[in-house]
């Protein structure tokens, strides 16, 4: 049980506590106070004694402890096997999971083991997938980035009931990067995506079909001449954000105006989309390989890199680039980290040591460790709010569900 502490009281060596909860009756206990040793250590950062001291809580009151359900998966579903390493996945849409694979295919999964669509077209491994927020309706747009230096946009209908995986071709190919594209992120409104690449740049792209932008005319012409498939469009970058000195490894576009980027040059940069300039830098000292923005008022940056430490920065803190939290229970590189989309405190992180860990910002230790992979875990995400999905070098997509996140 995780313990959510509030309120007060201590009695020399024993503390009067009362357990309260918002849970439903079967999990409720009588609201009487009991005495427990004050040096009891919970999964909270410190012992009760220290906690009281640190919070300067009066010793005369009854400490109210709210208890909640453990944040740990109750169910591990059968892994969904791929042909090759699972390099990327996205679970932002509760209806399906999109995974990217080293065999150049992206797959859409409805549930564990149920593959509905195969997105075919990349000539090299897919490095990143992202569901572009659709404006309602059945049609879903997905962006994938690949080592073949292109991004592709795909459209498919989720409600189509098919018995076998349906093969889909990209409706738009975005060319322009000079190196393998490492990551892609989509704007909330869904009309733009940005991508980071080994050529050290971030490109912004439009996602709309058959746009009337001037720069698309020539592309269309070329498409007509060269491409056999009429429906495939080619797009060029709207703008390029230059500033990173090494490969851009991860991107986040949580707000309309700001893009967060993490790079191998050890920095996290915040870009103003309109001006194309980076507004602030956070230097880390290590190669950064994943980044996500979320948490308290969607402002905290979680990042992991070439060391076993998961770091949380608060960019609102002026004058410092020191992380506000550091979690170092992993034993190898942190390959992915994701905030829970509802909770301010919960994080999932994946590492090359084969473990997926669930974190609460308020505790120093992982809430749960998921060890369903036998090899490096390359990507992890939340799904449906109560599941953690992860893919790794053992070519498995693992779904751990039944996680209670308050």
């Amino acid at each position: 049980m995780d313990i959510d502490t509030n309120a007060e009281e201590e009695n020399s060596r024993r503390v009067q506590v009362r357990f309260i909860t918002k849970l439903k009756p079967p999990l409720k206990v009588a609201p009487t106070s009991i005495a427990i040793p004050s040096n009891l250590t919970s999964s909270v950062r410190m012992s009760l004694d220290n906690f009281l001291l640190a919070k300067a809580i009066s010793a005369e009151k009854i400490l109210e402890i709210e208890y909640i359900k453990a944040v740990a998966p109750t169910k591990h579903e059968e892994p969904s096997f791929h042909d090759d390493w699972v390099s990327a996945l996205d679970g932002s849409d509760p209806r399906f999971i999109v995974t990217g694979c080293y065999d150049g295919l992206a797959r859409v999964w409805k549930a564990a083991g149920v593959c509905t669509h195969v997105l075919e077209g990349h000539s090299d491994g897919v490095t990143s997938v992202r569901v572009i927020e659709s404006k309602g309706g059945e049609g879903v747009t997905v962006a994938t980035a690949s080592k073949d230096r292109t991004l592709r946009l795909w459209k498919f209908d989720t409600e189509e009931s098919v018995n076998y995986p349906m093969k889909i071709r990209a409706f738009k190919i975005l060319r322009g990067h000079g190196g393998s594209v490492q990551c892609v992120a989509a704007k909330k409104s869904g009309d733009m995506v940005c991508s980071g690449s080994w050529d050290c740049t971030i490109n912004l792209w439009r996602t709309n079909e058959l746009d009337n932008d001037g720069d698309l005319v020539s592309v269309k012409k070329r498409k007509v001449n060269d491409q056999a498939d009429e429906s495939q469009l080619e797009g060029e970058a709207v703008s390029t954000l230059v500033g990173h000195t090494q490969s851009v490894s991860s991107l986040a576009w949580p707000e309309h105006k700001t893009i967060y980027s993490a790079s191998w040059d050890h920095s996290v940069r915040l870009w103003d989309v309109e001006t194309g300039k980076d507004t602030s830098d956070i230097f880390c000292g290590k190669v950064l390989r994943c980044l996500d923005v979320g948490g308290e008022s969607s402002a905290l940056i979680a990042g992991g890199g070439s060391d076993p430490v998961l770091r949380i920065w608060d960019p609102r803190k002026p004058g410092t680039s020191a992380p506000v939290f550091q979690f170092s229970s992993h034993t190898s590189w942190v390959s992915a980290c994701k905030w829970h989309n509802k909770s301010w405190f919960h994080l999932v992180s994946a590492s090359y040591d084969g473990k997926v860990m669930l974190w609460d910002l308020r505790t120093a230790w992982p809430l749960a460790v998921i060890e369903s992979h036998e090899d490096k875990v390359l990507c992890a995400d939340w799904w449906k709010g109560d599941s953690v999905i992860s893919g790794g070098a053992d070519s498995k997509l693992c779904i751990s569900s039944g996680i209670y996140v308050p």
């Binding site: 393998s180 000292g285 290590k286 070439s306 590189w333 490096k376």
Partner: protein
């Protein structure tokens, strides 16, 4: 004894034969006379003091044979004489045996019988209350004789005609009878004569001093008067001194304190008179003896037999000069063989090695050490291994990292060339080239991602397939070669380019079995130290090795410099790689700063080889090491 006695007797008989008519009755008991000369001298003696002392001559007459010369007294004492002689005869026999015993123990015939008692010169009162009077030579107690009554003793003495000759010897607790010879001696002393008859007090005077040549005869002048009068001037001087002492002008000398003890092993340098001289340098003291030089050192100093045997195997100079031994006592220590030699060598040392005063600057040696920055300040540098690239089945001989740092190529003895993704450790490409790969290298141009591989006698240029279509097109053009028309006339050719369709590359075929194109690497196998060269701004390697030092216990297989970080690394067959920080300053006088940072371990040895190659990531402070255990490891900061 018997023989001597007979002889003496024989002589006596002859002598006495002349006197027979006078002393007939004495013949049988005349055994105590010592010798002929004695007998003669006795004659003279007695003739001299014939009528001078009547009282003593009484007794004399009884003993000596000349009683006849003083006839008047001889008659009166005849009775006594008879008894005396009888007694004498008995006594003499016992005396003779006693004297013989005495003679056995002391050589000198002059000495009397050695005292029976051996207690020495101690007051005899100490034994007053004891049963015994002392100890004889064999250590047995000498018991006291029984005390007789005064009456008994008186009666006894009255009966005994010789009683007057007896003397009680307190020391030996026995009655001693004075012999004739002793009697004579006593008599002489009583007369005030020299005790020995031989001594002539009136011998003619011989003036040994030569008076004729004496130039300064002793003055006979009377002492002058002034010698007896106290000196006026002296007393004046004394008065002056006394006044001065009273006034405190003169301080009478304190008696000099003699140092009772002195430091036997003390340093000569402390002696004041020598230290006064400015240039005096005391001789170095030889080493003082320690515990092991003791005659009875404790057991831990004693070398075992094995150690002593091992000394024999050592060089003469290294051999210990002194081997401690144990002796039960100081007395049993043998003479030191090398005493003279040692002293001689010591003198030689002192003489042949002139001592010079050295000017020494007082500097703390710690301050001379270069100040090395702490390792923390030199971060980042590779520290720990997080990623391993597994897939090869034999030792990885060579690795090369793409200019962008995204891919790493490796060649192995299993005949494969692989390309890995640095980030994830995934093997992206795999070529089977058939032969053991010696070396792989990426094209440093990012636009042309091609790979050169040295395989056996050939060099393969491989198209990695990275890059977009245009680049691929360019590469394909570049890697296209027309097949040679006549391969048979290649005898005079060294090498030829061939299209290699299998690996989608071209092959530079060397026809003569020559050395590998990569000759710079061949010498490295034997190098066990690292030489640091100065890289100037033009990239030229200056010919001066800045420093060289050995740290690897085994052969160094490769060294690598980082392109941007001031790092360099070396890897060795001892399965470890060393990372150093190296800074070269533009000031040529300043020594380059080299700080060893980290020892990276993790590889396991295989067939005696450890780490075969090490390369830095072009952008990150990461080190790749290729091990003989077929694993490539990535060490990150």
């Amino acid at each position: 004894m018997g023989v001597e006695m007979k002889k003496e007797k024989g002589i006596k008989k002859r002598n006495n034969a002349t006197e027979k008519p006078q002393q007939q009755q004495q013949i049988p008991s005349d055994s105590d006379s010592d010798s002929d000369s004695d007998a003669d001298y006795e004659y003279e003696d007695f003739s001299e003091d014939g009528g001078s002392d009547g009282s003593l001559s009484d007794s004399e007459a009884g003993e000596s044979g000349e009683s006849g010369s003083s006839g008047d007294e001889g008659v009166a004492n005849s009775d006594v004489d008879d008894g005396l002689q009888n007694d004498n005869g008995q006594e003499d026999q016992s005396d003779g045996s006693e004297s013989h015993q005495g003679a056995e123990e002391s050589d000198s015939s002059e000495d009397e019988v050695a005292p029976r008692n051996t207690v020495g010169d101690v007051p005899l009162e100490w034994y007053k209350d004891e049963e015994h009077i002392g100890y004889d030579l064999s250590g047995k107690k000498i018991t006291k004789k029984e005390r007789k009554d005064k009456l008994d003793s008186f009666l006894e003495s009255a009966d005994d005609s010789k009683n007057w000759l007896k003397v009680y010897d307190e020391y030996n607790d026995e009655d001693v009878e004075v012999t004739r010879k002793e009697l004579k001696l006593i008599r002489r002393l009583l007369k005030g004569k020299a005790p020995h008859g031989d001594f002539d007090p009136y011998a003619p005077y011989v003036d040994w001093f030569k008076w004729d040549d004496a130039k300064h005869p002793l003055s006979n002048a009377p002492e002058p008067k002034r010698r007896f009068i106290p000196s006026k001037w002296e007393s004046k001087k004394v008065v002056k001194l006394v006044r001065a002492i009273r006034a405190g002008l003169i301080k009478p000398d304190q008696p000099k304190e003699e140092q009772r003890f002195y430091h036997l092993w003390g340093d000569d340098s402390s002696s004041t008179e020598k230290a006064k001289h400015l240039n005096f340098i005391p001789a170095p003291k030889p080493k003082l003896p320690g515990h092991e030089e003791s005659y009875n050192p404790s057991l831990e100093y004693i070398p075992t037999q094995e150690e002593i045997n091992s000394y024999q195997l050592m060089y003469e100079e290294d051999r210990p000069k002194f081997i401690p031994r144990r002796y039960t006592s100081l007395r049993s220590i043998p003479a030191y063989d090398n005493a003279v030699k040692d002293v001689f060598e010591r003198c030689l040392d002192l003489y042949l090695c002139p001592r010079v005063r050295k000017k020494r600057i007082n500097i703390d040696p710690e301050s001379l050490k270069p100040k090395l920055p702490s390792r923390r300040d030199l971060k980042p540098y590779p520290v720990s291994c997080y990623l391993e690239y597994k897939g090869h089945t034999d030792a990885v001989t060579s690795i090369s990292i793409d200019a962008s740092g995204q891919w790493i190529a490796s060649g192995s003895l299993d005949g494969t060339v692989r390309i890995w993704e640095v980030e994830t450790g995934r093997c992206l490409r795999n070529w089977e080239v058939g032969e053991a790969v010696q070396y792989v290298a990426w094209n440093p141009l990012r636009e042309l991602p091609i790979l050169a591989v040295s395989v056996g006698p050939d060099v393969l240029i491989l198209n990695t397939g990275f890059g977009d279509e245009e680049e691929q097109k360019k590469i394909k053009e570049l890697l296209h070669v027309e097949t040679p028309i006549a391969p048979d006339d290649s005898g005079n050719k060294v090498s030829i380019w061939l299209q290699d369709d299998k690996h989608e590359g071209i092959r530079l075929r060397h026809f003569k079995k020559q050395k590998q194109s990569k000759s710079s690497r061949s010498g490295l196998r034997e190098v066990s130290s690292i030489a640091l060269f100065r890289l100037d701004s033009w990239g030229n390697v200056s010919s001066i090795a800045y420093s060289s030092w050995g740290c690897h216990p085994k052969d160094v297989t490769n060294v690598a410099f980082h392109r941007s970080y001031p790092l360099f690394a070396s890897c060795s067959d001892d399965c470890s790689a060393y990372v150093f920080h190296g800074t070269v300053y533009s000031d040529l006088n300043q020594n380059p700063l080299i700080v060893p940072l980290e020892i990276l371990r993790g590889h396991t040895s295989s067939k005696g080889r450890g780490v075969m190659d090490c390369k830095f990531h072009p952008r990150q402070p990461w080190l790749f090491t290729a091990g003989a255990d077929s694993v490539i490891k990535l060490y990150c900061h």
